[in-house]
Point group: C2
Chain length 137, copies 2
Amino acid sequence: MLNYQVAAPAPLDLAFQALADPTRRVMVERLSQGPASVSELARPLDMTLSAVVQHLAVLEASGLVRSQKIGRVRTCRIEPQTFTAAERWLSERRASWERRFDRLGAFLAETEAETGADDDPATPSAAPGVRRRRKKT
Amino acid sequence: MLNYQVAAPAPLDLAFQALADPTRRVMVERLSQGPASVSELARPLDMTLSAVVQHLAVLEASGLVRSQKIGRVRTCRIEPQTFTAAERWLSERRASWERRFDRLGAFLAETEAETGADDDPATPSAAPGVRRRRKKT
DNA sequence: CTGATACTTAAGTGAATGCTTAACTATCAG
DNA sequence: CTGATAGTTAAGCATTCACTTAAGTATCAG
């Protein structure tokens, strides 16, 4: 069970990072309505073509967008898979706390009927503090 | 219909930016299982408490996490709303291209029956190139 | 009061970002 | 061939980021 975390950029890092920029989200919004060329993506944006190309590079590196060049025109389109990965991460977290709320709800409903308190399922375990230092000796 | 885009950081910028960091995602994963103190969040992380507090500040600024201090312990918990906003943005984009695929599917099914070709609904409109320069004269 | 615990805050640093300008390389139209 | 179009690539630069160390400030236990 190796995780990235050290030195290698996890796919989700790149995806969320790419989506964090408003310019790039505008580009993704445009592409979600259908493929577009680079200059088409650039049209509504208040910056040089060069900057747009750099944003595109970020989107491609993240896997959210794919492109191919035909003649002198590069056509870009959305790559659904990476997109879905980001969506899934979010919904999994939500599932996690919603499960917890359900349990809490059940607990409250139970103690409402017969007042015999147990252990609060939403309370953190509160452990002693041990500090770490980074690898650097 | 004013949008952020200029000078002010849109809520989604902050949310996606916050989620782009693996350390912060670990923190969010922990919190999605229930509230936790700062040192509890720091325990599995290979960095100083100080750094964790700074990550927490980013998460709070993004609205993904909320915290309150009782005595000397700060308890952190997930704030579902902002989370949902990010999820919604993603699913709306997906809805957009899925609608397009449906139309394409319908179009193909139609031309399969009676071969009378029209205009490809997935093809970009290809307009002339006009370059902008940033505000700076 | 005294010492640990649980953060807080400030300053500094190297690397990553989001641009710009400038100079270039392929198409494609005539 | 010639000029416009579409994109590419390389510097350079101001900011922001993700840390670190260092020096606090409130609790709380004894």
